[in-house]
């Protein structure tokens, strides 16, 4: 049974005990523990159930590569599923629970899947749930969804906050083991601005636990000295709890800092996502030990040999009393020795290699440990806990030679460098047959903006597994990074390393070599997704030969651990099954993030009220105080309507329309784009931008204009005002101001840079208020200061002066068909002017109206709305706007496209008005007009769709506009709109101008 040892544990502080709970049980740990070490210290070896077969699973690893020990942490608004116990720091009051089981961890109904496992091989779901088709939606999918997924998603809003941070450095060193510490020192000493990040809470990596001396000092002592040296360098910043998550183009790196995961609720942000731009990135990310594929290698108690050593050395925890070590390399002997030295029993070391004549083996033998060479594990006894191993000849088929009682198995299949960050941005790998791993190919690194490599691998992450080679490579990497960032490194030597020599490992991809199907079906490659040796072999047999296909078919490496333990073993099995070499099979693509990062960190500050900027007009507060029901219009918020008393929204809109048509209404039109275009060539330029002729516009007059894209499609409209000889004010749609301004600048900068024109986007400089209705003139007269009589200020004219004591421009334009003025005042005085209008209008029953009333009133007049009547495929001619297209101009943007044959077809969809047969029936927006019969595909024959549709209070009937094929020639026809399976609305094609076709209301 796993337990806390009386001594040892460089990471823990035994004077600071901590209470925590697991599945409600109160347990004790120490400061410095991970949740995993604390669970083992409390004898909790069973920590979860596997995803597919619900097999009992225990802790396998001691770091980020852990596939099994995924737990639920916290509760309520701090609940989070699928957290790795091995990377969770223990804190007082931590609450953890196991997942993926029902009703309990110890007794799980889903474990029936394990009994059925031979009926649930790779591809089972693909093959099984195909017929009958309807069953997928109604039967299979709901059942699978119920059982799919690991921990349940939190139901409450996240209580924490998150943030981003930008950093710029010469050299980023990822990984704070001996190599990273050394690289950072070399780069920093040379003067390079260096950031060193370490994903765990402590620097040192394996140096803290592996027996070796650096410069004559024990590992932990050297780490302390080294940190002191770095502390003395102004150029170097060291940070812990910060993981290199992804490396991207041009030296960009995302790093994930876990600020307060171990101190929840202390007021600090929980996570910070660093957006680092580095000239050079050193990946000193270490190496990960591989499991050995033998039957029962997933039984709780079977662990990586290095992890066993970590628990003993770092946390003073013994994963078991009797540990059998099984290995194909020398390093695992260190685990056996460490266990023995900690007073624990090691019944045997099973070495798959035919001989073990190295120094470590001699040392082990010297300690009295039985070393069996050429041996492997045939099978593991026990279900929820290892009780023993049956040993066999590695070269054989699994005939059991002997069974050894034990409660822990420490396995080592060799080491794989962590090449993820090297590979994210295109760094290539080479196969090292001696160590049976892929390592970064220094000749093919990821390339930066200047075309040179910007990532340098160091330490065991570069493939240098021997400690001496690792620190040497780290010094080289630090020097290289310093030089390539314009600094001159000193000539310091690599530290002296004293460590036992090792003989080569021997790759083992299946244990025993000739294991039969029964053994192979229990030899797990991917623990989290329950992928076994037999599954990968089946995939190859069924033709999924590409590693990418085999991965997706079997789900190998697709779990939350992204195959950190399983990938190399899996592709070796695939290569073997295909009779190909491992480099021929190749790896799957390494994609960021290195381990899962929180959604909160990705969002950063952009949550809640800061999720997205909301643009507000100068009168926004007033609207909010007066019952505004908001509508988002591009990034703006605008009042849709203002509710009074107990009105519902529809009643409020109706009231606003009728009051505006009868008395006078007030609209906040500040969101309209306002672009100043000025220069000797301004008229000429606007003639190119607009379809209309703008150069001929007289001073003081306004003209409605259309803008098309080079494809000929209408994309914005608005009123252009000639302010002076060489200056024009162009109004755009509310959503279009930035786009149109950028559009104008694009043409001026990139095509017609000879034109003398400057533009300025003045949208936000002005508040704009529309005073609309039969009594609008009376209101402006009451404001006083500008003569707004019909003679002085006729329709489509503009005047400048002072209204109500505020500097103002008055445009007599109308989007409602009423007598209407739009008044622009400096934004800071917008609210004052709005209030002045309300005061002056109170005698005339003035009421504010919102965007819905605006929409209805413009539709009553048949005015188009960009985004309703246009959708990026509509040309002005489709909308009957030929009158706004100049025939005199040689060129304007879109003119050539509108000459293309398809644009001239008479059966294009054209704008029509629609009057439903029943005047109370309002067509649904977007409803399709259908003709009898079906098309070639058996579908309804659609001839167009409704673009705007309202009930008009003014006309007391429904109105609509639609784009209908050949609509211009269909006047008087009755069309059918199928709005539901058995409901059709019939409507007559009419003129889209429903109200006051002659414009008498506005020309007063």
């Amino acid at each position: 049974m796993s337990t806390r040892l009386a001594n040892g544990g460089v990471r823990i502080d035994r004077s600071r005990p901590l209470d925590f709970t697991f599945n409600g049980r109160r347990l004790k740990g120490f400061e410095g523990d991970t949740l995993a070490s604390a669970l083992l210290a409390n004898g909790q070896t069973l920590v979860g159930r596997s995803f597919k077969y619900h097999r009992p699973r225990g802790i396998v690893a001691s770091g980020a590569e852990e596939p099994n020990a995924l737990v639920r942490l916290g509760k309520g608004d701090r609940a989070e599923p699928n957290q790795r116990a091995t990377t969770t720091e223990l804190f007082a009051g931590l609450e953890a629970g196991s997942q993926n089981h029902w009703p309990s961890l110890e007794f799980d109904i889903g474990a029936i899947n394990a009994k059925l496992s031979r009926f649930l091989p790779a591809g089972f779901y693909y093959k099984t749930f195909i017929h009958p088709r309807a069953a997928w939606k109604h039967l299979f999918e709901p059942v699978i969804r119920q059982s799919a997924g690991l921990g349940p998603a939190p139901t409450e809003r996240d209580a924490d906050r998150y943030e981003h941070f930008y950093a710029f450095v010469d050299v980023l060193v990822i990984g704070g083991g001996a190599a990273g510490l050394k690289s950072a020192e070399v780069a920093g000493r040379a003067g390079a601005k260096t950031l060193l990040i370490e994903q765990t809470a402590a620097f040192g990596g394996r140096t803290l636990v592996d027996p070796c001396e650096i410069d004559g000092k024990a590992g932990p002592e050297w780490v302390e000295d080294q940190l002191a040296r770095l502390d003395g360098l102004d150029t170097v910043t060291c940070r812990t709890r910060m993981m290199g998550a992804g490396v991207y183009d041009h030296g960009y790196c995302l790093a994930y800092e876990r600020i307060s995961d171990h101190t929840p609720g202390d007021g600090r942000p929980r996570h910070r996502l660093w957006r680092i731009r580095a000239k050079r990135i050193i990946t000193a990310t270490g190496a990960i030990e591989r499991p050995l594929p033998f039957s029962g290698n997933d039984v709780p108690g079977v662990m990586l040999a290095s992890a066993v050593r970590d628990y003993v050395g770092l946390y003073g925890v013994s994963p078991g009393d009797r540990t059998v070590v099984v290995t194909n390399n020398d390093d695992a002997y260190r685990t056996a020795i460490a266990l023995k030295e900690a007073g624990l029993d090691v019944p045997a070391i099973l070495d798959a290699r035919p001989m073990a004549t190295n120094a470590l083996a001699d040392k082990a033998r010297g300690l009295g440990i039985r070393v069996e060479v050429g041996r492997g594990v045939a099978s593991v006894q026990g279900t929820k806990q290892v009780t023993g191993v049956s040993i066999c000849a590695q070269a054989g088929e699994g005939a059991v030679l002997e069974t050894i009682a034990c409660d822990c198995v420490a396995m080592s299949g060799g080491w794989s460098p962590v090449v993820h960050l090297w590979s994210h941005c295109g760094g290539k790998l080479i196969w090292d047959p001696d160590h049976a791993h892929f390592a970064p190919d220094p000749d093919r690194p990821p390339l930066g903006a200047d075309g040179s490599g910007f990532v340098i691998a160091a330490g065991s992450a570069s493939g240098a597994l021997h400690a001496g080679d690792a620190v040497e490579s780290a010094v080289r990497a630090g020097r290289q990074a310093a030089e390539e960032t314009g600094h001159e490194p000193g000539d310091e030597a690599a530290p002296e390393i004293t460590v036992e020599d090792e003989q080569f490992m021997e790759a083992v991809w299946c244990m025993p070599q000739g294991a039969d199907i029964k053994l192979r079906s229990k030899a797990f490659l991917d623990y989290q997704n329950d992928v076994k040796v037999s599954d990968v072999q089946l995939a190859a047999q069924e033709g999924f030969e590409s590693v990418e296909h085999a991965k997706r078919y079997t789900t190998l490496g697709m779990a939350t651990d992204q195959g950190k333990l399983s990938n190399i073993n899996g592709l070796a099995v695939l290569a073997h099954a295909r009779d190909a070499s491992i480099p021929q099979v190749g790896t799957t693509t390494f994609r960021p993030p290195y381990t899962p990062i929180s959604m909160g960190a990705i969002a950063g500050e952009a949550r809640g009220a800061l999720f997205k900027p909301v643009r507000k007009t100068p009168m926004d507060d007033w609207h909010a105080d007066h019952g505004a029901h908001w509508e988002p219009v591009a990034d703006w918020r605008r009042p849709y309507t203002y509710r009074q008393g107990g009105e519902n929204i529809e009643q409020a809109v109706t009231r606003e329309i009728l009051n505006t048509r009868t008395n006078v209404g007030l609209l906040d039109a500040s969101t309209l784009g306002k672009i100043l275009v000025k220069g000797p060539d301004a008229g000429k330029f606007l003639d190119l931008i607009y379809t209309n002729m703008m150069s001929s516009l007289k001073m003081g007059r306004c003209r409605y204009g259309l803008m098309c894209t080079e494809n000929g499609f209408l994309f914005d409209d608005g009123v252009v005002v000639r302010l002076g000889e060489d200056s024009f004010l162009c109004h755009t749609t509310s959503g279009g101001s930035d786009r149109v301004h950028a559009w104008m600048e694009e043409w001026l900068q990139t095509e017609w840079w000879d034109l003398k024109v400057y533009t300025a986007n003045l949208t936000e400089q002005f508040a704009q208020v529309a005073v609309v209705g039969p009594k609008a003139r009376a209101v402006l007269e009451a404001l006083g200061g500008i003569d707004v009589s019909g003679d002085v200020l006729p329709f489509m004219a503009f005047a400048e002066g002072t209204l109500a004591g505020i500097k103002a421009r008055v445009f007599r334009i109308s989007f409602s068909g009423e007598l209407s003025y739009e008044i622009a005042v400096p934004a800071a005085q917008g609210l004052a002017f709005w209030q002045a209008c309300l005061d002056a209008g109170s005698a005339h029953d003035i009421q504010p109206y919102g965007t819905e009333a605006l929409h209805v009133m413009r539709a009553e007049k048949g005015f188009i709305m960009i985004g309703d009547e246009t959708d990026g495929t509509v040309i002005p001619q489709d909308l009957g706007l030929d009158w706004a297209i100049s025939k005199k101009k040689d060129d304007f943007i879109g003119k050539r496209a509108q000459m293309r044959s398809f644009m001239r077809r008479e059966d294009r969809k054209q704008l029509v008005g629609l009057a439903t047969e029943d005047p109370r029936t309002v067509l649904p927006d977007g409803a399709h007009a259908v003709e009898p019969g079906t098309n070639a595909y058996g579908h309804a024959r659609t001839i167009g769709h409704v673009t705007s549709t309202y009930f008009s209070p003014t006309l007391d009937r429904s109105i609509a506009m639609a784009l209908i094929k050949g609509g211009a020639d269909r006047m008087g026809e009755t069309l059918s709109f199928q709005v539901d399976k058995d409901r059709t609305i019939r409507a007559k094609v009419v003129d889209p101008v429903f109200l006051d076709k002659d414009g008498e209301r506005q020309n007063v």
């Binding site: 906050r161 300025a760 949208t763």
Partner: protein
């Protein structure tokens, strides 16, 4: 401990001036009205009555007291008559914030993709970039002190964003370590 004050500045006079920086008439007009020369790339120059900032190769932002802006526009128009230019009062189109105190750099570094290290970003430089999702420009007015302008419509958003970023206990202490 953080100690960053975020405050919105009172309305400030701002004039956008576009023209040919190389033209003697332009330089003369600017000098005549502001007493300042055309700033070089990304510079902001200040005197007692205001400042002039480089916004793009053909655009400057002139800052003065709010009630002066219209007069400045008129004066520029007069002295640049006949010269192709654009001068517009944009005082009300923008909001201005002061970010001051130990950690001011760190507040901005949470949202702006700009190297703000003291050896890189100095007083006298204006940077147009983004803060989170909105366009801003900022410059240093002293040690640990910045001014930032954004569009008026997003002033509340920027204010909330800055307050959030300046909350105590949330600084990585990179610049002030």
């Amino acid at each position: 401990m953080s100690d960053v004050m975020i405050e919105e500045c009172p309305l400030r006079g701002m004039v956008s001036l576009r023209g040919d920086f190389a033209s003697a008439a332009f330089q003369k007009a600017l000098h005549g009205v502001t007493g300042l020369d055309v700033p070089t790339t990304r510079r902001i120059v200040t005197h007692k009555d205001g400042s002039v900032a480089w916004m793009s190769p053909d655009e400057l932002l002139l800052m003065m007291s709010h009630d002066q802006a219209d007069a400045v526009v008129s004066a520029l128009e007069d002295s640049l008559s006949g010269e192709h230019h654009l001068a517009a009062n944009v005082s009300d189109a923008r909001a201005c914030f002061r970010i001051q105190g130990w950690g001011a750099h760190e507040v901005l570094a949470k949202g702006a993709p700009v190297d703000l290290a003291p050896e890189v970003f100095h007083p006298g430089e204006i940077r147009r970039t983004r803060l989170g999702q909105v366009a801003v420009a900022f410059w240093m007015t002293g040690e640990d002190a910045f001014e930032l302008v954004c569009f008026r419509s997003v002033a509340a958003f920027v204010s909330d964003w800055l307050q959030m970023a300046a909350r105590p206990g949330s600084f990585p202490d990179v610049f002030n370590a």
